[in-house]
């Protein structure tokens, strides 16, 4: 999609890039299942609300945790990515940790961000986490605690681009 946007003649390129800067995450969402990402692991599984719902691009569908903390989910990208920020739409998450792994099938993860999200009342939490620039093959979200027994994650949008090796 990006390639297609950048193809037009030079005079069109500039507005497109401005657009990309403003809506970076919609343009470069490398966590979308349609972009080749997939859920490698999730610690909760209600088949009515599977973890894949986080990366289908829709806020209406969600992953629901099914009790106890911590809860984890691993998103594996199609290839090695350089990621700059993560946007999470959720409900009832309190403490959240992001970890990245640079290896395929690796168990070695480095913590890249830790945050405490404010409680919201009958609306989704919208958390934007800036990462600078981190290399990641997979991203692990660790929900360490919540404002209730169960939390939901509606969307995980990861801005980034493929690393050309």
């Amino acid at each position: 999609m990006l390639a297609r946007l950048l193809q037009p003649e030079a005079k069109f390129v500039k507005p497109v890039l401005t657009l990309l800067c403003h809506h970076k995450w919609t343009m470069f969402d490398v966590a979308l299942s349609s972009a080749g990402a997939h859920i490698a692991l999730a610690t909760s599984s209600d088949e009515k609300h599977p973890p894949e719902n986080m990366i289908d691009g829709k806020a209406e569908t969600f992953w629901s945790t099914t009790g106890m903390f911590p809860q984890e989910v691993v998103i594996r990208f199609q290839t090695m990515m350089k990621i700059t920020n993560v946007h999470i739409c959720s409900y009832n998450i309190r403490k959240l940790k992001l970890e990245a792994s640079e290896m395929d099938e690796s168990t070695k993860y480095d913590t890249i961000a830790e945050t405490e999200i404010d409680e919201t009342d009958s609306q989704l939490q919208q958390e934007e986490i800036q990462l600078g620039e981190k290399r990641a093959y997979s991203l692990r979200l660790v929900i360490e605690s919540g404002y209730d027994h169960f939390v939901s994650v509606h969307k995980v949008v990861v801005s980034g681009q493929a690393v050309h090796q």
Binding site: S145, H149, F150, S152
Partner: protein
Amino acid sequence: MPTTLRCKCVIVGDATVGKSSIAQVFHSDGSHFPKNYTMTQGVEVLVKPVNIPETTDSVEMYIYDSAGKEIFSDLVRRFWDHPSVVIVVFDCTSETSFSSCKKWLERIRSQCPDIQIPGALLANKIDLDQRRVISPKAGKELAQSNKLEYFECSAKEMQNVDTPFFYLANEFHKLYQERVELFDSLT
């Protein structure tokens, strides 16, 4: 396809009221009652799945059998983060164990004051009818005033031990369904 919920069920109460016996009788489907007393040090965890009637869902109960001796109180509290449900046990032949119930409940609820935790108040040793000092009425009243459901059992006679666990598993399952509806309504 069935959904499996995970429920952290913390059992508290004074020493020797029968917390471990209750946990073990429930866990073994009534095939094991520990005849000799062993004081629990710290916390023992037992896992047991409970099927929810009229659904294909189940709740995996992670039973945290906590030491009742005050000397372990700081230690056991470290295992009580994020409790899902709680069972407060007393010995119906001991006035002291009954009056401690409030203290135990407060300790659990102070872990997460803003979260609703379904709970049960459980009178044990009801087989010792002659020595009973806490009436069912007194038990029910304490339960009501603390938003708990009241149950009576005899771990020794393996009588009614499962009921509070089934009740709490069902309550937890209900809570889950309510929350999922809420999540659904947010978008």
